[in-house]
Subunit: 308 residues, 2 copies
């Protein structure tokens, strides 16, 4: 069990890395069918600050639309977004903003939506970090995904974000195929074109509930049909998923990323900001015996090295 | 392209087999990510006569429950089922019967349900065919699944039956993992036990619509995130899925199994029996240019050879 030299090179030696290495060794005794790992995306696999990547994508689309048709900015939601009026955005509320943005792609086919998302991801940057969005993924987590797959784990992404947005880049960024992405779904309409051929178009409505909290657990069962023995997250919306993984018989791992690295990324408490949790998620995790990943302490490198 | 000697040995030489062989050759030019094949289950991968396998399973459970608690037979649905009163079953209607049977497993966990389904499949037989249920799968289709996977296809089952029932046997019978089974879903309840640990239990209600017709297409997109270039089915409920596959750009295949073999299996028209289609599904398929598989003509062997 000692190939620690090349194993997880961006994880600094210490208690967190020891827990990971021990879990990986123990997991080889678990039947392959039960080697399932579920990772949250925003704040767990890639950076979610200063804004969600998917939010940037929607605002990018809105901005392009407004250049073609300025009247689009007449709704209070779009007016606030186009002018970057954070007070107005906060007053309208994220739910109303999200609903308005979702409507931008009503009528779009799945392939056109995926192409648009990839086009955006190929050029957009995180200005605060001065990095392309494709390079704000966490290098230590990429190494963990690879190691899990080497051990024949089924590795899934279980995101509060839009399923189809994450699918557009999941194979490329994370090596995760579309059927292993579980997220918030948009309902589709089955229609026919003028030659009676079937066409599938996005509606402006959700299919089921947003993929957060207990819904992550029920969606893991309905979408994947298996229970994870490893779950990783960073916010209150991941709590039930981490508890679900931690409560299996046999080896299990609940990993919580603590954003405590103001120098290299951001320093913030997750839970308190978007969820009405009675305590910060790091306190919950400590109480429940989860493994808390300190970005500042445990990660030798946060992002992938620059492309040559 | 001539390894036809060992390719699909249970398919008799002729036009149908030629179409399959040509499609498999053409598909190697398709990007791997687009090599997706979706198979209906009942009547396409395994026998659905004289009764659906899942129906037999539910009645088996009902019978066992009635031995422990005879009062369970007091409802009109269960009384009709327990006495095998086909007239009464027909009068109550399949929808009401199915709802009553679904309620049998309300409160059951996913793992307990899967264990029960496997226990049943290990001993149950199709009396009309004098074969164990595990051996009423179609040998020519198993060969096709294997060949598709050899060509790096993602092979999914898209069934009108219960997702969790099919998942319980899909890896074992078909080599298809649970996340590639798309079917009719039961809603789960996230609850907690007396030690506050999360527990997931089946409800008595569906999650979304039954997986038939256009819903098969929308569920393929939401569950798998990819579009099939091959779809196979046998009934009116498969029509939209076959049209969806047939309408892609590039190589595609829509396969319709025609149950025309009264000697070795059953002879019946699918569509007219359970769907209000204006024409038999074989006529629809012929009109739309699908490949119609005649069991009597195209299959050298219908079921797997007896186990030694």
């Amino acid at each position: 069990m000692t190939r620690t030299g090349d194993l997880l090179p961006s994880w600094r030696p210490g208690p967190t890395r020891d827990v990971l290495v021990d879990f990986l060794a123990d997991a080889t005794a678990v039947p392959t069918v039960d080697r399932v790992a579920c990772f949250d995306n925003d704040g767990t696999l890639w950076c979610e600050r200063p804004t969600y990547v998917q939010f940037d994508f929607f605002v990018d689309e809105l901005t392009a639309r407004a250049q073609e048709d300025p009247t689009i900015g007449s709704s209070p939601e779009f007016a606030a977004l186009l002018s970057g009026d954070h007070a107005a955005i906060g007053e309208l509320g994220l739910e109303r903003i999200a609903f308005a943005l979702t409507g931008l792609f009503e009528g779009t086919t799945a392939s056109a939506f995926a192409a648009r998302a990839r086009e955006f991801m190929d050029r957009a940057v995180n200005a605060a970090l001065d990095r392309p969005l494709r390079r704000v993924v966490y290098q230590p987590m990429l190494e963990l995904l690879d190691e899990l797959r080497r051990l024949e784990f089924t590795v899934a992404i279980v995101s509060g974000g839009g399923t189809e947005f994450v699918r557009a880049i999941s194979q490329d960024l994370y090596g995760v195929p579309p059927e292993l992405v579980v997220g918030t779904l948009i309902k589709y309409d089955f229609t026919r074109d003028d030659q009676e051929r079937p066409v599938l178009r996005r509606t402006g409505h959700l299919e089921g509930d947003p993929n957060e909290g207990a819904t992550k657990v029920t969606n893991i069962q309905t979408s994947l049909g298996r229970r994870p023995i490893l779950a990783a997250g960073n916010s209150g919306g991941d709590r039930e998923m981490l508890e679900w993984a931690a409560a299996v018989d046999g080896p299990s791992l609940a990993l919580l990323v603590d954003h405590d690295d103001a120098d290299r990324e951001f320093r913030y408490l997750s839970a308190a900001e978007t969820f009405a949790e009675p305590e910060p998620i790091t306190d919950v995790g400590a109480r429940l015996g989860w493994t808390i990943v300190s970005m500042a302490r445990d990660w030798d490198q946060v992002f992938p090295p620059a492309v040559a």
